[in-house]
């Protein structure tokens, strides 16, 4: 791709223009990250007077802790469930909208709205709906003889956070799928129709393979979202409970660091998370560019 080069007459101007962005990146991203790496090798006494350098002890202890392994496990369940549910529901909605001719636009607009809701608000919203004391959903479920209490039952809590987190992400996925579906040429679908493929066969043999780059991209984005961006939703609904049933890795970083004040362990956990993000991003760029094309 050929982009136009701009030549600045003043040598300092380009740097001046870059400075604000650089400052933000350094102050809010690089510096805290460096701090986290540094304090993940340290132990601080309860009063914050003394810090000792302890090499990898925080890390080794972390992977010996049953709570941490449980959290790893919970995060995996959570991320897979959220990714699967939000992607399949949004694909279904996108396919439905792409079949509408006139009202498609209105639906698209409405379906995008949840994305504009702040995560904590979304969490509170679901917390109200599923509140065992005053919520409408447990009341309705009760009518069918199903008792719901996410404050006591870990599985209920997991279902709740998965639903809330998926709901929030559906809008985003939906937009990408709608765009992906629009990029499949109509004539291909017509050719397949003439070639004797019914609507389902057309979808699975032509449309789905052709939007696979979108699907793969969304898969990585959704895993990222579920693992790192759902703090607000979890804090608003279950706060990681009950008994650590929804204590995902990200939530545990917060809980151990800010509530438990174990800065060393919390930092080590966030460094592990950083490593996971880096790996996922590398996979995304490498894989998407090379493998998923036709």
């Amino acid at each position: 791709m050929q982009t136009k080069r701009t030549i600045f007459p003043n040598k300092l101007l380009p740097y001046a223009l870059l400075t604000p962005q650089l400052i933000i990146t350094i102050v809010f991203f690089l510096w805290p990250a460096a701090q986290a790496v540094k304090s993940s090798f340290e132990r601080e006494d309860p009063f914050g007077f003394r810090t000792t350098f302890i090499w990898f002890q925080n890390y080794t202890r972390l992977f010996g802790e049953p709570e941490y392994l449980n959290s790893l496990n919970r995060t995996a369940i959570f991320a897979i469930a959220v990714t699967f549910i939000s992607m399949s529901v949004s694909l279904l909605l996108a396919v439905a909208v792409s079949r509408l001719l006139r009202s498609g636009r209105a639906y698209t607009t409405l379906l995008v709205w949840p994305y504009a809701v702040a995560p904590v608000l979304a969490g509170i919203l679901w917390w109200f709906m599923f509140n065992p004391t005053i919520g409408i959903v447990p009341y309705l479920l009760n009518q069918f003889g199903i008792s719901w209490n996410h404050r006591i039952r870990g599985n209920d809590a997991m279902v709740l956070v998965v639903l809330a987190a998926s709901w929030k992400q559906i809008s985003y996925n939906f937009l990408f799928f709608v765009a992906g579906l629009q990029s499949v040429p109509r004539s291909l679908i017509e050719a397949a129709a003439i070639d004797g493929a019914g609507p389902f066969k057309r979808f699975w043999t032509i449309v789905f393979p052709l939007i696979s780059p979108t699907t793969f991209f969304l898969m990585i984005v959704n895993i990222n979202y579920a693992m790192f961006d759902t703090f607000g939703i979890i804090d608003g609904t279950t706060s990681g409970g009950p008994a650590g049933a929804t204590n995902t890795l990200v939530y545990k970083v917060y809980a151990d660091g800010f509530l438990g004040l174990n800065i060393g362990s919390s930092s080590a956990q966030s460094v592990v998370l950083m490593a996971i993000v880096i790996v996922l991003t590398v996979i995304q760029f490498r894989w998407v560019e090379r493998r998923v094309q036709y």
Binding site: L188, A193, I194
Partner: protein, 349 residues
């Protein structure tokens, strides 16, 4: 092998836009009928209605004697070649050819046999394992044809299949489609906006304008005896020249043949105008040479007529002696005049 019968076909789009007005057309078994017309004349819509990709507002479409209006495209037993080829990009050439057969539950041995046969006919055997994006435009075009012929359908529908190719390849593929259709003798409906393609391919030619058939017949018939002003102007390149009858009468004197009373506009093809006196009844017109376009074996002279400011085109063999800017006399052969009525747009004699 089958006939295609269209009777009373009408297409009205939402918003009361009528694309096709009560049209009748029948394609005989093994015949290649070409639909030609300017963009927006309804030719593609008509083809898509035969394919079942568009609904028909009124009228019946029959293929092989059976009414197919309510059948899905897949149940009409037709194959279509699209303008952009519509090859499945994620499948190999073989996958593309097999897809329609597999969907219909054709046994494996028969699939292999048909694919091998199509690949041999179209000379695409070396590319069978490649993906469409690895092929050139001409090769993709062949694969698209192959996908149509492996199914051995009742009819082929071509939707401007050559318009994405460069001029040289278009010429080659045109000949190839003709040869293929002659060998297979599959009933075909072919849509194009290129009148040269239409003339050379068609057994019978249908000129469409604004959702109606202007004229239907053998290509030579349409060329020699256009039934309307529209057909006269559309078929033939360079296009026919038109004159006011009054203007010609003034110049012609006795050499103007007798014409019916309602004629008021006269057409003549560029190749019926000669520079040397033809020694037969003709109408001499004087004009200035504005432009000479040498196109190889012949040249096109653009002549600005004296006294009327009208520009006419003369097709003359070889290279004319005249230079641009010179004044010369052109002779319109009196027997090659086409009389029309301006109001109705129809031929008068």
């Amino acid at each position: 092998m089958a006939t295609i019968e269209l009777s009373g076909i009408r297409k009205v789009y939402p918003g009361n836009v009528t694309a096709i007005h009560d049209l009748d057309l029948s394609v005989d078994d093994g015949e290649l009928v070409v639909l030609v017309g300017p963009s927006g004349c309804g030719k593609s819509t008509l083809l898509r209605m035969v394919a079942g990709l568009e609904t028909t507002t009124a009228g019946t479409v029959s293929i092989g004697g059976a009414v197919v209006n309510r059948l899905e495209p897949s149940d009409r037993d037709i194959a279509m070649v699209f303008q952009n080829y519509a090859l499945y990009p994620h499948m190999t050439v073989r996958g593309n050819l097999e897809y329609g057969l597999k969907n219909r539950g054709t046994p494996r041995t028969l699939i292999d046999e048909r694919v091998a046969e199509a690949a041999r006919i179209l000379e695409i055997a070396p590319f069978l394992e490649r993906k469409p994006r690895q092929l050139s435009g001409g090769q993709r075009q062949r694969v698209a044809m192959g996908r149509a012929i492996v199914r051995q359908p009742k009819a082929f529908l071509f939707d401007e299949p050559l318009s994405n190719l460069d001029a040289k390849l278009r010429g080659q593929m045109r000949v190839e489609i003709r040869r293929l259709q002659r060998t297979l003798r599959t009933t075909s409906l072919y849509v194009t906006h290129d009148q040269l393609e239409a003339m050379t391919l068609a057994d019978r030619l249908v000129v469409m304008n604004a959702g109606r058939i202007e004229q239907l017949g053998k290509p030579t018939e349409l060329y020699e005896r256009p039934a309307s002003l529209f057909v006269a102007g559309f078929i033939g390149s360079p296009p026919m020249n038109f004159f006011d009858l009054e203007y010609l009468r003034e110049k012609a004197g006795a050499s103007l043949p007798t014409l019916s009373d309602d004629s008021d506009i006269i057409g003549i093809r560029p190749d019926s105008i000669v520079l040397a006196d033809p020694q037969e009844p003709s109408i001499p017109l004087r004009g200035t040479v504005e432009l000479i376009e040498p196109v190889g074996g012949e040249s096109h002279l653009h002549l600005r007529l004296e006294g009327s400011d009208q520009l006419i085109i003369v097709e003359t063999p070889g290279r004319p002696d005249a230079a641009e800017g010179t004044l010369l006399t052109a002779h319109l052969r009196a027997r090659a005049l086409h009389p029309f009525n301006r109001q109705s747009g129809l031929r008068t004699a």
